[in-house]
């Protein structure tokens, strides 16, 4: 295995791990605020790492520049989208989940 293959492997494994964490967070967390919190952070990192793996795979190429730009815009827009969703939810008067309520599980 060349060092580049190892780097790609590590990046893809990290990306898959964080995407898995985001999926678990989306399924298991109780309300919209905790779900956006869990999904936005780890999914941004998961997709970012996967795209970084794409960029490393292509090497010094126009395609890797495009992948790097995708990572950049993913890091800008994904948290903003989560912010917008949470803000809209707060504006609609959705109460945050608290431990005072009866736990479902």
């Amino acid at each position: 295995m060349t060092p580049r293959e190892l780097a790609v492997l590590a990046l893809v494994a990290g990306g898959a791990f964080f995407a898995f964490v985001a999926a678990v967070g989306l399924l298991r967390l109780p309300d919209v605020y905790t779900r956006t919190h869990g999904a936005s952070k780890s999914d941004t990192l998961g997709a970012g790492l996967a795209l970084a793996a794409v960029a490393v795979t292509f090497g010094f190429d126009l395609s890797s520049v495009k992948a790097a730009l995708l990572v950049l815009f993913m890091f800008i827009t994904n948290p903003t989208a989560a912010h917008a969703i949470t803000r809209a939810a707060a504006d609609q008067g959705i109460e945050p989940w608290t431990t005072d309520e009866e736990g479902e599980e």
Binding site: F73, I76, T77, T80, H83, A84, R87, A88, D91
Partner: protein
């Protein structure tokens, strides 16, 4: 714009205030300011590359329309609607359709004598590539303004329809 609306109609002012409490987020506004030129450029890129790679007028038009959606979400949909003007939007759609037809018909005119959308009849090098790109551009214009209009229509429906 909302100031003049508040003087004209107290009820409209109240809805504008309701919207503003949600709309004015510095984070969303700053992000939209940074991202929208890039998104717009990317939409044009998709339109012009429909001839020789993935993309095309429809996808590019949707991406360009996304800019309008982002502006609406960040700065308020009603100010954006006033700024664009609904009649302007309809005019742009119609103009795009007619531009498409005009490009198609030009190739059938006497000096060229080809078929409808038969670009090679124009007889300059790369005519078919430029012809496809021009058609894609106008398809993109039509798609972008149609989707912007649908966005406005959906927004108008949230107050029970029939506003403006």
């Amino acid at each position: 714009m909302s100031e003049s609306a508040s003087e004209a109609d107290p009820e409209a002012a109240e809805t504008a205030d309701d919207l503003r409490s949600y709309v004015e987020s510095p984070i969303i506004m700053a992000t939209v300011r940074v991202v929208s030129p890039f998104v717009f450029t990317y939409g044009l890129y998709l339109m012009f590359h429909g001839a020789n790679s993935s993309g095309g007028g429809f996808q590019g038009g949707v991406v360009v329309a996304t800019v309008m959606l982002m502006l609406g979400i960040a700065f308020g949909i009603d100010p954006l609607r006033e700024w664009v003007g609904e009649s302007t939007l309809v005019l742009v759609v119609v103009a795009g359709v007619f531009a498409f037809l005009a490009i198609g018909v030009v190739t059938t005119l006497p000096p060229f004598g080809g078929g409808f959308l038969d670009y090679s009849a124009l007889g300059f090098p790369g005519a078919s590539k430029y012809g496809i790109e021009a058609v894609e551009l106008f398809i993109g214009v039509v798609v972008a303004s149609t989707i912007t209009g649908l966005f406005f229509a959906i927004d108008a429906g949230k107050e029970g329809g029939d506003n403006e």
